[in-house]
Protein backbone atom coordinates (compact mmCIF):
# COMPACT_ATOMS: atom_id res chain seq x y z
CA UNK A 1 0.00 0.00 0.00
CA UNK A 2 2.83 2.37 0.84
CA UNK A 3 4.40 1.49 -2.48
CA UNK A 4 1.15 2.25 -4.24
CA UNK A 5 0.81 5.59 -2.49
CA UNK A 6 4.30 6.73 -3.37
CA UNK A 7 3.76 5.53 -6.92
CA UNK A 8 0.56 7.54 -6.96
CA UNK A 9 2.26 10.67 -5.67
CA UNK A 10 4.99 10.28 -8.28
CA UNK A 11 2.64 9.91 -11.21
CA UNK A 12 0.49 12.80 -10.00
CA UNK A 13 3.52 15.06 -10.31
CA UNK A 14 4.57 13.66 -13.66
CA UNK A 15 1.11 13.59 -15.11
CA UNK A 16 -0.51 16.73 -13.83
CA UNK A 17 -3.29 17.67 -16.24
CA UNK A 18 -2.62 21.35 -15.66
CA UNK A 19 0.89 20.89 -17.02
CA UNK A 20 -0.23 18.89 -20.00
CA UNK A 21 -1.56 21.62 -22.24
CA UNK A 22 -2.62 21.38 -25.85
CA UNK A 23 -4.29 17.99 -25.72
CA UNK A 24 -7.00 17.24 -28.24
CA UNK A 25 -10.53 17.69 -26.92
CA UNK A 26 -13.90 16.74 -28.27
CA UNK A 27 -17.48 17.34 -27.15
CA UNK A 28 -20.23 14.78 -26.76
CA UNK A 29 -23.73 16.18 -26.45
CA UNK A 30 -26.78 14.56 -24.93
CA UNK A 31 -29.94 15.90 -26.45
CA UNK A 32 -33.44 14.36 -26.47
CA UNK A 33 -32.07 11.15 -24.93
CA UNK A 34 -29.49 10.62 -27.65
CA UNK A 35 -25.72 10.94 -27.84
CA UNK A 36 -24.58 13.37 -30.54
CA UNK A 37 -22.48 12.31 -32.31
CA UNK A 38 -23.05 8.61 -31.73
CA UNK A 39 -19.64 7.99 -33.24
CA UNK A 40 -16.69 9.86 -31.77
CA UNK A 41 -13.50 9.82 -33.80
CA UNK A 42 -10.38 10.02 -31.68
CA UNK A 43 -6.81 10.33 -32.97
CA UNK A 44 -4.51 7.43 -32.25
CA UNK A 45 -1.60 7.77 -29.83
CA UNK A 46 -2.79 10.77 -27.86
CA UNK A 47 -4.76 11.32 -24.71
CA UNK A 48 -8.06 13.03 -25.51
CA UNK A 49 -10.38 15.02 -23.32
CA UNK A 50 -14.08 14.39 -23.83
CA UNK A 51 -16.43 17.07 -22.63
CA UNK A 52 -19.86 15.57 -22.03
CA UNK A 53 -22.61 18.16 -22.14
CA UNK A 54 -26.06 17.11 -21.04
CA UNK A 55 -28.75 19.35 -22.55
CA UNK A 56 -31.60 17.26 -21.17
CA UNK A 57 -33.15 17.83 -17.74
CA UNK A 58 -32.55 14.22 -16.69
CA UNK A 59 -29.16 13.06 -15.34
CA UNK A 60 -27.26 10.41 -17.29
CA UNK A 61 -24.37 8.15 -16.40
CA UNK A 62 -21.81 7.92 -19.15
CA UNK A 63 -20.33 4.45 -18.82
CA UNK A 64 -18.02 2.26 -20.85
CA UNK A 65 -16.70 -1.17 -19.99
CA UNK A 66 -14.34 -0.99 -22.97
CA UNK A 67 -12.79 2.24 -21.69
CA UNK A 68 -13.30 1.64 -17.93
CA UNK A 69 -15.08 4.95 -17.56
CA UNK A 70 -18.13 6.02 -15.60
CA UNK A 71 -19.37 9.46 -14.69
CA UNK A 72 -22.71 10.95 -13.80
CA UNK A 73 -23.61 14.05 -15.79
CA UNK A 74 -26.42 16.06 -14.18
CA UNK A 75 -29.33 17.51 -16.12
CA UNK A 76 -28.24 20.69 -17.94
CA UNK A 77 -24.73 19.96 -16.69
CA UNK A 78 -21.31 19.15 -17.99
CA UNK A 79 -18.48 16.81 -17.09
CA UNK A 80 -15.19 15.93 -18.69
CA UNK A 81 -13.08 12.80 -18.77
CA UNK A 82 -9.80 11.72 -20.32
CA UNK A 83 -9.44 8.71 -22.55
CA UNK A 84 -6.49 7.17 -24.30
CA UNK A 85 -3.98 6.93 -25.74
CA UNK A 86 -5.88 4.07 -27.33
CA UNK A 87 -5.06 1.32 -29.78
CA UNK A 88 -6.98 1.55 -33.08
CA UNK A 89 -10.38 -0.06 -32.77
CA UNK A 90 -13.90 0.62 -31.56
CA UNK A 91 -14.97 1.16 -27.97
CA UNK A 92 -18.61 1.06 -26.88
CA UNK A 93 -20.14 3.46 -24.40
CA UNK A 94 -23.68 3.83 -23.08
CA UNK A 95 -25.91 5.62 -20.60
CA UNK A 96 -26.12 3.39 -17.54
CA UNK A 97 -29.49 4.93 -16.71
CA UNK A 98 -30.89 4.14 -20.17
CA UNK A 99 -29.15 1.35 -22.04
CA UNK A 100 -30.89 2.25 -25.30
CA UNK A 101 -28.60 5.28 -25.43
CA UNK A 102 -25.37 4.02 -26.94
CA UNK A 103 -22.40 5.27 -28.87
CA UNK A 104 -18.96 4.27 -30.07
CA UNK A 105 -15.49 5.74 -29.85
CA UNK A 106 -13.58 4.98 -33.03
CA UNK A 107 -9.81 5.14 -33.09
CA UNK A 108 -8.50 5.00 -36.65
CA UNK A 109 -4.91 4.03 -37.41
CA UNK A 110 -2.86 6.94 -38.73
CA UNK A 111 -1.56 6.79 -42.30
CA UNK A 112 1.81 5.16 -42.63
CA UNK A 113 1.27 2.74 -39.75
Amino acid sequence: MRLLLSLLAGTVLLNNPVLAAGEPATTLIIDHQKFTPTQLNIPVASRTKIIIRNQDAVPIEFESYDLSREIVVPGHGEASIYIGPLEPGSYQFFNDFDHDMQGTVIVKPTKGN
Binding site: L8, N15, V58, E61, S68, E70, P74, G77
Partner: protein, 272 residues
Protein backbone atom coordinates in the same frame (compact mmCIF):
# COMPACT_ATOMS: atom_id res chain seq x y z
CA UNK B 1 -40.32 -1.79 -16.47
CA UNK B 2 -38.05 -4.82 -16.90
CA UNK B 3 -35.20 -2.56 -18.05
CA UNK B 4 -35.62 -0.52 -14.87
CA UNK B 5 -35.60 -3.67 -12.76
CA UNK B 6 -32.40 -4.87 -14.42
CA UNK B 7 -30.61 -1.54 -13.89
CA UNK B 8 -31.62 -1.31 -10.23
CA UNK B 9 -30.67 -4.96 -9.74
CA UNK B 10 -27.17 -4.24 -11.00
CA UNK B 11 -26.80 -1.14 -8.85
CA UNK B 12 -27.87 -3.02 -5.71
CA UNK B 13 -25.94 -6.18 -6.51
CA UNK B 14 -22.48 -4.82 -5.77
CA UNK B 15 -23.41 -3.51 -2.32
CA UNK B 16 -25.39 -6.66 -1.61
CA UNK B 17 -22.56 -9.05 -2.48
CA UNK B 18 -19.95 -7.03 -0.57
CA UNK B 19 -22.14 -6.93 2.54
CA UNK B 20 -22.80 -10.68 2.23
CA UNK B 21 -19.06 -11.36 2.13
CA UNK B 22 -18.08 -9.15 5.08
CA UNK B 23 -21.06 -10.31 7.10
CA UNK B 24 -20.07 -13.93 6.68
CA UNK B 25 -16.35 -13.21 7.02
CA UNK B 26 -16.97 -11.54 10.37
CA UNK B 27 -18.98 -14.51 11.61
CA UNK B 28 -18.41 -15.04 15.30
CA UNK B 29 -17.58 -11.41 16.03
CA UNK B 30 -19.98 -10.06 18.60
CA UNK B 31 -22.42 -7.29 17.58
CA UNK B 32 -21.32 -7.40 13.95
CA UNK B 33 -24.92 -7.10 12.78
CA UNK B 34 -25.36 -3.80 14.57
CA UNK B 35 -22.20 -2.36 13.02
CA UNK B 36 -23.11 -3.52 9.54
CA UNK B 37 -26.66 -2.15 9.90
CA UNK B 38 -25.33 1.23 11.07
CA UNK B 39 -22.98 1.23 8.08
CA UNK B 40 -25.88 0.56 5.73
CA UNK B 41 -28.00 3.34 7.26
CA UNK B 42 -25.16 5.88 7.09
CA UNK B 43 -24.45 4.69 3.55
CA UNK B 44 -28.01 5.47 2.46
CA UNK B 45 -27.73 8.93 3.98
CA UNK B 46 -24.39 9.45 2.20
CA UNK B 47 -25.89 8.18 -1.06
CA UNK B 48 -28.64 10.79 -0.89
CA UNK B 49 -26.10 13.56 -0.25
CA UNK B 50 -23.79 12.41 -3.05
CA UNK B 51 -26.72 12.14 -5.45
CA UNK B 52 -27.79 15.69 -4.60
CA UNK B 53 -24.26 17.03 -5.04
CA UNK B 54 -23.74 15.18 -8.31
CA UNK B 55 -26.95 16.62 -9.64
CA UNK B 56 -26.05 20.24 -9.04
CA UNK B 57 -24.85 21.27 -12.46
CA UNK B 58 -22.71 24.17 -11.34
CA UNK B 59 -20.86 22.39 -8.55
CA UNK B 60 -17.24 21.38 -8.78
CA UNK B 61 -18.48 17.97 -7.91
CA UNK B 62 -20.09 17.36 -11.27
CA UNK B 63 -16.72 17.02 -12.93
CA UNK B 64 -13.57 15.55 -11.52
CA UNK B 65 -14.78 15.74 -7.93
CA UNK B 66 -17.13 12.84 -8.53
CA UNK B 67 -14.43 10.56 -9.91
CA UNK B 68 -12.00 11.59 -7.17
CA UNK B 69 -14.60 10.85 -4.49
CA UNK B 70 -15.23 7.46 -6.08
CA UNK B 71 -11.51 6.70 -6.11
CA UNK B 72 -11.09 7.82 -2.49
CA UNK B 73 -14.09 5.77 -1.39
CA UNK B 74 -12.82 2.67 -3.17
CA UNK B 75 -9.30 3.00 -1.79
CA UNK B 76 -10.78 3.54 1.69
CA UNK B 77 -12.70 0.29 1.28
CA UNK B 78 -9.52 -1.48 0.16
CA UNK B 79 -7.69 -0.34 3.31
CA UNK B 80 -10.58 -1.45 5.54
CA UNK B 81 -10.80 -4.84 3.82
CA UNK B 82 -7.05 -5.22 4.29
CA UNK B 83 -7.35 -4.45 7.99
CA UNK B 84 -10.23 -6.88 8.31
CA UNK B 85 -8.34 -9.65 6.55
CA UNK B 86 -5.11 -9.14 8.48
CA UNK B 87 -7.04 -9.16 11.74
CA UNK B 88 -8.90 -12.30 10.71
CA UNK B 89 -5.71 -14.07 9.74
CA UNK B 90 -4.38 -13.35 13.23
CA UNK B 91 -7.59 -14.30 15.08
CA UNK B 92 -9.41 -16.58 12.64
CA UNK B 93 -8.29 -19.75 14.34
CA UNK B 94 -9.63 -18.57 17.65
CA UNK B 95 -12.88 -17.43 16.05
CA UNK B 96 -13.47 -20.72 14.28
CA UNK B 97 -13.13 -22.62 17.56
CA UNK B 98 -15.55 -20.14 19.04
CA UNK B 99 -18.03 -20.62 16.22
CA UNK B 100 -18.00 -24.34 17.00
CA UNK B 101 -18.45 -23.83 20.74
CA UNK B 102 -21.41 -21.46 20.79
CA UNK B 103 -21.45 -19.06 23.69
CA UNK B 104 -17.72 -18.98 24.29
CA UNK B 105 -16.17 -15.57 24.66
CA UNK B 106 -13.75 -14.25 22.09
CA UNK B 107 -10.71 -12.66 23.59
CA UNK B 108 -11.22 -8.94 23.38
CA UNK B 109 -8.87 -6.76 21.43
CA UNK B 110 -8.76 -4.26 18.62
CA UNK B 111 -11.53 -5.81 16.58
CA UNK B 112 -12.17 -4.47 13.10
CA UNK B 113 -15.62 -3.12 13.98
CA UNK B 114 -14.98 0.25 12.34
CA UNK B 115 -13.83 -1.64 9.26
CA UNK B 116 -17.17 -3.46 9.09
CA UNK B 117 -19.04 -0.18 9.41
CA UNK B 118 -16.96 1.64 6.82
CA UNK B 119 -16.98 -1.17 4.25
CA UNK B 120 -20.78 -1.37 4.42
CA UNK B 121 -21.13 2.41 4.35
CA UNK B 122 -18.93 2.69 1.30
CA UNK B 123 -20.60 -0.15 -0.59
CA UNK B 124 -24.07 1.27 0.00
CA UNK B 125 -23.09 4.88 -0.63
CA UNK B 126 -21.32 4.29 -3.93
CA UNK B 127 -23.95 2.28 -5.74
CA UNK B 128 -26.76 3.86 -3.75
CA UNK B 129 -26.08 7.36 -5.04
CA UNK B 130 -26.32 6.10 -8.60
CA UNK B 131 -29.51 4.25 -7.79
CA UNK B 132 -31.00 7.43 -6.27
CA UNK B 133 -30.10 9.47 -9.36
CA UNK B 134 -31.44 6.81 -11.66
CA UNK B 135 -34.76 6.61 -9.81
CA UNK B 136 -34.97 10.37 -9.81
CA UNK B 137 -34.33 10.38 -13.56
CA UNK B 138 -37.13 7.91 -14.29
CA UNK B 139 -39.52 9.45 -11.78
CA UNK B 140 -39.24 12.82 -13.51
CA UNK B 141 -39.29 11.12 -16.91
CA UNK B 142 -43.08 11.38 -16.86
CA UNK B 143 -44.80 8.54 -18.66
CA UNK B 144 -45.04 5.21 -16.91
CA UNK B 145 -43.14 6.65 -13.95
CA UNK B 146 -44.93 4.59 -11.32
CA UNK B 147 -44.66 1.32 -13.24
CA UNK B 148 -40.97 1.91 -13.69
CA UNK B 149 -40.54 2.64 -10.00
CA UNK B 150 -42.23 -0.68 -9.29
CA UNK B 151 -39.77 -2.37 -11.61
CA UNK B 152 -36.97 -0.63 -9.76
CA UNK B 153 -38.26 -1.88 -6.43
CA UNK B 154 -38.34 -5.40 -7.87
CA UNK B 155 -34.72 -5.01 -8.92
CA UNK B 156 -33.72 -3.90 -5.42
CA UNK B 157 -35.44 -6.92 -3.84
CA UNK B 158 -33.79 -9.29 -6.33
CA UNK B 159 -30.37 -7.77 -5.67
CA UNK B 160 -30.76 -8.18 -1.90
CA UNK B 161 -31.98 -11.77 -2.36
CA UNK B 162 -28.88 -12.71 -4.34
CA UNK B 163 -26.72 -11.27 -1.56
CA UNK B 164 -28.64 -13.32 1.01
CA UNK B 165 -28.16 -16.46 -1.08
CA UNK B 166 -24.41 -15.85 -1.21
CA UNK B 167 -24.38 -15.29 2.56
CA UNK B 168 -26.30 -18.49 3.27
CA UNK B 169 -24.12 -20.36 0.79
CA UNK B 170 -20.95 -19.16 2.48
CA UNK B 171 -22.26 -20.19 5.89
CA UNK B 172 -22.57 -23.77 4.64
CA UNK B 173 -18.83 -24.00 4.14
CA UNK B 174 -17.39 -26.28 6.85
CA UNK B 175 -15.94 -24.27 9.74
CA UNK B 176 -12.51 -25.76 9.13
CA UNK B 177 -12.22 -24.04 5.75
CA UNK B 178 -14.59 -21.16 6.40
CA UNK B 179 -12.17 -18.37 7.30
CA UNK B 180 -9.64 -19.21 4.64
CA UNK B 181 -12.40 -19.14 1.98
CA UNK B 182 -13.73 -15.77 3.14
CA UNK B 183 -10.17 -14.37 3.38
CA UNK B 184 -9.51 -15.30 -0.23
CA UNK B 185 -12.83 -13.79 -1.28
CA UNK B 186 -11.96 -10.52 0.46
CA UNK B 187 -8.46 -10.55 -1.00
CA UNK B 188 -9.79 -10.66 -4.57
CA UNK B 189 -12.64 -8.28 -3.77
CA UNK B 190 -10.16 -5.68 -2.47
CA UNK B 191 -7.88 -6.11 -5.48
CA UNK B 192 -10.84 -5.56 -7.80
CA UNK B 193 -11.89 -2.39 -5.96
CA UNK B 194 -8.32 -1.07 -6.17
CA UNK B 195 -8.35 -1.64 -9.95
CA UNK B 196 -11.63 0.30 -10.18
CA UNK B 197 -10.07 3.16 -8.19
CA UNK B 198 -7.15 3.20 -10.64
CA UNK B 199 -9.67 3.54 -13.46
CA UNK B 200 -11.23 6.61 -11.82
CA UNK B 201 -7.85 8.25 -11.20
CA UNK B 202 -6.92 7.65 -14.82
CA UNK B 203 -10.29 9.03 -15.96
CA UNK B 204 -9.54 12.44 -14.42
CA UNK B 205 -6.01 12.35 -15.78
CA UNK B 206 -4.19 11.90 -12.48
CA UNK B 207 -2.68 8.54 -13.39
CA UNK B 208 -1.35 7.36 -16.74
CA UNK B 209 -3.19 4.44 -18.35
CA UNK B 210 0.09 2.59 -18.99
CA UNK B 211 -1.55 1.07 -22.02
CA UNK B 212 -5.27 0.72 -22.67
CA UNK B 213 -6.79 -2.67 -23.33
CA UNK B 214 -3.71 -4.70 -22.46
CA UNK B 215 -5.86 -7.67 -23.39
CA UNK B 216 -9.44 -8.01 -24.53
CA UNK B 217 -11.52 -10.94 -23.35
CA UNK B 218 -14.91 -9.37 -24.05
CA UNK B 219 -15.35 -11.90 -26.86
CA UNK B 220 -15.04 -14.75 -24.35
CA UNK B 221 -16.85 -13.15 -21.41
CA UNK B 222 -18.56 -9.80 -21.88
CA UNK B 223 -18.54 -7.54 -18.85
CA UNK B 224 -22.12 -6.73 -19.76
CA UNK B 225 -23.27 -10.32 -19.20
CA UNK B 226 -24.59 -11.46 -15.84
CA UNK B 227 -21.61 -13.71 -15.18
CA UNK B 228 -19.23 -10.96 -16.27
CA UNK B 229 -20.97 -8.59 -13.88
CA UNK B 230 -20.69 -11.06 -11.00
CA UNK B 231 -17.04 -11.70 -11.61
CA UNK B 232 -16.42 -7.97 -11.97
CA UNK B 233 -17.81 -7.40 -8.47
CA UNK B 234 -16.36 -10.48 -6.80
CA UNK B 235 -12.86 -10.73 -8.27
CA UNK B 236 -12.61 -7.49 -10.25
CA UNK B 237 -12.95 -9.01 -13.73
CA UNK B 238 -12.29 -6.37 -16.40
CA UNK B 239 -12.59 -7.46 -20.03
CA UNK B 240 -10.29 -4.74 -21.40
CA UNK B 241 -8.06 -3.64 -18.53
CA UNK B 242 -5.55 -0.82 -18.71
CA UNK B 243 -1.98 -1.23 -17.48
CA UNK B 244 -2.54 0.88 -14.38
CA UNK B 245 -5.55 -1.25 -13.41
CA UNK B 246 -3.50 -4.43 -13.69
CA UNK B 247 -0.73 -2.80 -11.64
CA UNK B 248 -3.16 -1.78 -8.87
CA UNK B 249 -4.82 -5.19 -8.94
CA UNK B 250 -1.61 -7.19 -8.61
CA UNK B 251 -0.07 -4.67 -6.19
CA UNK B 252 -3.05 -4.84 -3.84
CA UNK B 253 -3.27 -8.61 -4.06
CA UNK B 254 0.38 -9.02 -3.16
CA UNK B 255 0.40 -6.35 -0.43
CA UNK B 256 -2.56 -7.86 1.42
CA UNK B 257 -1.22 -11.36 0.98
CA UNK B 258 2.17 -10.38 2.43
CA UNK B 259 0.53 -8.51 5.33
CA UNK B 260 -1.59 -11.55 6.12
CA UNK B 261 1.49 -13.75 6.04
CA UNK B 262 3.44 -11.36 8.27
CA UNK B 263 0.79 -10.75 10.92
CA UNK B 264 -1.25 -13.90 10.58
CA UNK B 265 -0.99 -16.77 13.03
CA UNK B 266 -2.26 -19.45 10.68
CA UNK B 267 1.09 -20.94 9.79
CA UNK B 268 2.26 -21.25 13.37
CA UNK B 269 -1.08 -22.72 14.40
CA UNK B 270 -1.04 -25.49 11.83
CA UNK B 271 2.42 -26.58 12.93
CA UNK B 272 1.40 -26.90 16.54
Amino acid sequence: MLATAVIMFREVLEASLIIAIVLSASRGIENRGRWVASGAALGLLGAAIVAMLANVASSEFSGNGQALLNAAILLGAVIMLTWHNVWMSAHGKQLSTEVKAVGADVESGQRPMAALLIITLVAVMREGSEAVLFLWAIATGGEQGSRMLMGGAGGVVAGILVGMLLYLGLLRIPTRHFFSVTSWLILFLAAGLAAQAAGFLNQVGLLPALGNGIWNTSGILSQNSLLGQFLHILIGYIARPSGIQILFYVGTLMSIFLLMRTYGSNRRDTRR
